[in-house]
């Protein structure tokens, strides 16, 4: 089974055929801007000492995250990782709660118990990552198994970096999904560096999507800087899974445009590589497409940009107004209570 390389998306008509109207298209742009904005502002807050711990950004990954999340249905679920801020934004996690999470405030989704991008909102179908990569990938497969057992037309999406895809967890999860043809879509964000480790020291196949053949399902490589191509491939894969067609492995190719985390200046990445991929910036690329193909006007663009700016500003203020957790609550929630099983996402 040869892996397919996805074509770029061309015309507005093609996009409409894929199920997006003009409002959706502008919404995608807005979500990408919020995604980058949350991380840029977060970085500043970190430098100001307002965010403890460490700080990771996903610059370069916005198209991949927003594109896939846009293709998900309301009842679908997912387990994003550390470069997938756009998934949270697209699914509707409010930026002020994300800032509260970063700052360790009570209103963050983990109420100060966990930090930075280790967040999720089960009511929005997102389940928080853990550091041990890619531990949530086989968990997402378990979610797909639940849908299969209950014969629900829902799909689970599992994100993973190309580096993390080396672990046994990824293999075991994908194998199970293949054997049982579970409704799971695997998205490997191949941003070419796992911390300081380049792809040639991470895997020896040509494309990571080649691995899909070994698990008995389809693989596709998509340009991860082309949000519409990512959307189209994700939508295909999700609908196929929903119809009982089994899993798909989508390899989304991009570059991690900053260091692994704020302490890392990425000295090991050749500068020309950054320069080349900066010319393919996913947001800039999509902006140009919108102007050329969907006649986004100056006014529309300004309005979106200003709206995002306002949103970020208000979000930070609101997050800063959220209190730090009371040390007396340290032991709250180590164990669950019986009635918590009655929540919607458990049913």
């Amino acid at each position: 089974m040869a892996v397919r390389e996805a074509e770029p998306v061309g015309s507005l008509q093609e996009v409409k055929d894929a199920g997006l109207d003009r409002e959706d298209l502008l919404g995608i742009y807005r979500n990408m801007l919020i995604t980058r904005g949350v991380e840029e502002r977060g970085h500043i807050l970190y430098k100001q000492g307002k965010i403890p711990g460490s700080f990771y950004t996903g610059r370069g990954n916005e198209a991949s995250a927003v594109g896939v999340a846009t293709a998900m249905g309301a009842d679908d679920v997912g387990c994003p990782l550390q470069r997938d801020m756009g998934v949270h934004i697209t699914r509707g996690v409010e930026p002020w709660r994300i800032f509260a999470q970063y700052m360790g405030r009570v209103d963050g989704p983990t109420h100060g118990r966990d930090g930075n991008v280790h967040l999720g909102d089960a009511n929005l179908g997102l389940h928080a990552m853990v550091s041990h990569l890619p531990a949530m990938l086989p968990v997402a497969v378990g979610m797909g198994l639940a849908f299969r057992i209950r014969e629900e037309r829902r799909v689970a999406v599992a994100w993973c970096g190309e580096g993390a895809s080396a672990r046994g967890d990824a293999h075991e999860g994908m194998n199970l999904a293949g054997v049982r043809r579970l409704p799971v879509v695997f998205v490997i964000d191949n941003n070419q560096w796992a911390y300081s480790t380049p792809t040639y020291l991470e895997y020896a196949v040509e494309h990571l999507a080649d691995r899909a053949a070994a698990y008995g399902f389809d693989g596709v490589v998509v340009d991860g800087t082309d949000v519409l191509a990512v959307y189209r491939e994700a939508r295909r894969a999700i609908e196929k899974a929903r119809e009982g067609g089994g899993p798909t492995l989508i390899e989304s190719l991009t570059l991690r445009m900053e260091g692994h985390a704020v302490h890392d200046d990425a000295f090991y990445v050749p500068r020309e590589m950054f320069e080349e991929w900066a010319r393919r910036d996913p947001i800039e690329r999509y902006r140009t497409w919108l102007r050329d193909n969907a006649s986004m006007s100056d006014d529309e663009e300004d309005e979106i940009t200003a709206g995002v700016k306002r949103l970020l500003h208000e979000s930070i203020e609101r997050a800063e107004a959220s209190p730090l957790p009371d040390p007396a609550t340290l032991l709250d929630g180590v164990f669950a209570e019986q009635d918590e099983l009655e929540t919607p996402h458990h049913k």
């Binding site: 360790g104 966990d114 550091s131 480790t197 020291l201 730090l324 009371d326 040390p327 340290l330």
Partner: protein, 324 residues
């Protein structure tokens, strides 16, 4: 003697052993060009080349099991976990193969796992753990927890020489904060020998790792009350120095065990139980434990501060014990 940070001491010890013994090599994530997440192996790849400083894929099982295989073929691998927390990914091979191989098959596994552990910097539940007691329960694994730069180097040398799998817990919070004199020449600090960090007569604190400094600050405060506190640094948990602990307990008659790991089933329980079994008649008070509460390590600073034992907690514990 030159002053070195705890991190430099580890780095120097490792480099010295690699120069001395061709069988010693390192493997782990980002250990090469990047020099490791904490830069312990910075410059190593230039000196020793890419086959003695091996950048591994993100594959803890392959790192630990791979090291085990190399050890069976006569090499002396020193494997780095990027954070101690991630050793859980390799749990199976460590516990199932490495720990039991000598006992069941007679083949020793001389591997060292370097494990940057401990909290205090808002690393959250997956970058701050002290999982030493989890492994202390597994026969066949040795456990080392140095507190000073001098010990960090000397114990690492012993760990590399040791014919068993050794878990070397390096406390991240000590890496650049703690400096001390470290001999340039090669020396090996034996495993299983405690060290009196601070002598005293009235109460003993048994501790290790970063908590040695917490205990020291608390002891200094109690000096003002006229209470003389001995701080005993255990240095290694498996094997641990029962004689030193029991001797100190018999002499001061009061013991507080302090650790950063969670309390239930923590290594402090083992120490307290041993003192109760072996030195009960010498005690003038109950053996107290101060440890983290039974929760994952929280991220937010006020929660993390409430979680990690603080100097004031130890002072209060020592005062209560002294007054008992």
């Amino acid at each position: 003697m030159p002053e070195k940070t705890y991190l430099q001491a580890i780095s120097d010890g490792l480099r010295q052993e690699m120069r001395r013994d061709q069988r010693v090599f390192v493997l782990g994530e980002d250990v090469g060009v990047y020099g490791g997440a904490f830069k312990v192996t910075l410059g190593f790849q230039e000196e020793f080349g890419p086959w003695r400083v091996i950048d591994m894929p993100l594959s803890e099982t392959a790192i630990v099991a791979g090291a085990t295989g190399c050890a069976l073929m006569g090499l002396r691998p020193v494997a780095e976990m990027q954070f101690a927390d991630f050793v859980s990914c390799a749990w199976d091979h460590l516990v199932t193969v490495a720990a039991k191989q000598r006992y069941r098959a007679g083949t020793p596994i001389p591997i060292v796992l370097r494990l940057p552990s401990g909290g205090g910097f808002s690393g959250g539940p997956f970058h701050s753990q002290n999982p030493e007691s989890t492994f202390a329960h597994i026969p066949g694994l040795k456990i080392v927890c140095p507190a000073t730069p001098e010990d960090a180097k000397g114990l690492l040398v012993s760990a590399i020489e040791d014919p068993n799998p050794v878990l070397f817990f390096e406390h991240k919070h000590l890496y650049r904060r703690i400096k001390g004199e470290v001999p340039d020449e090669r020396y090996a600090t034996p495993l299983g020998k405690a060290r009196v960090h601070r002598p005293g007569d009235d109460v003993t604190v048994v501790t290790w790792g970063a908590m040695v400094y917490t205990a020291q600050s608390a002891a200094e405060k109690l000096e003002a009350d006229g209470v003389s506190v001995e701080v005993l640094d255990l240095r290694t948990l498996i094997p641990w120095d029962r004689e030193a602990v029991l001797a100190s307990a018999r002499r001061t008659s009061k013991v507080l065990v302090l650790h950063e790991d969670t309390k239930t089933g923590g290594f402090g329980a083992e120490i307290a139980a041993t003192i109760a079994e072996e030195a009960f008649e010498h005690l003038d008070g109950p053996v107290r434990r101060i440890a983290a509460p039974d929760a994952p390590v929280p991220f937010s600073p006020p929660l993390e501060k409430a979680y990690i034992p603080q100097v004031d907690d130890v002072v209060a514990g020592l005062r209560a014990l002294a007054a008992y």
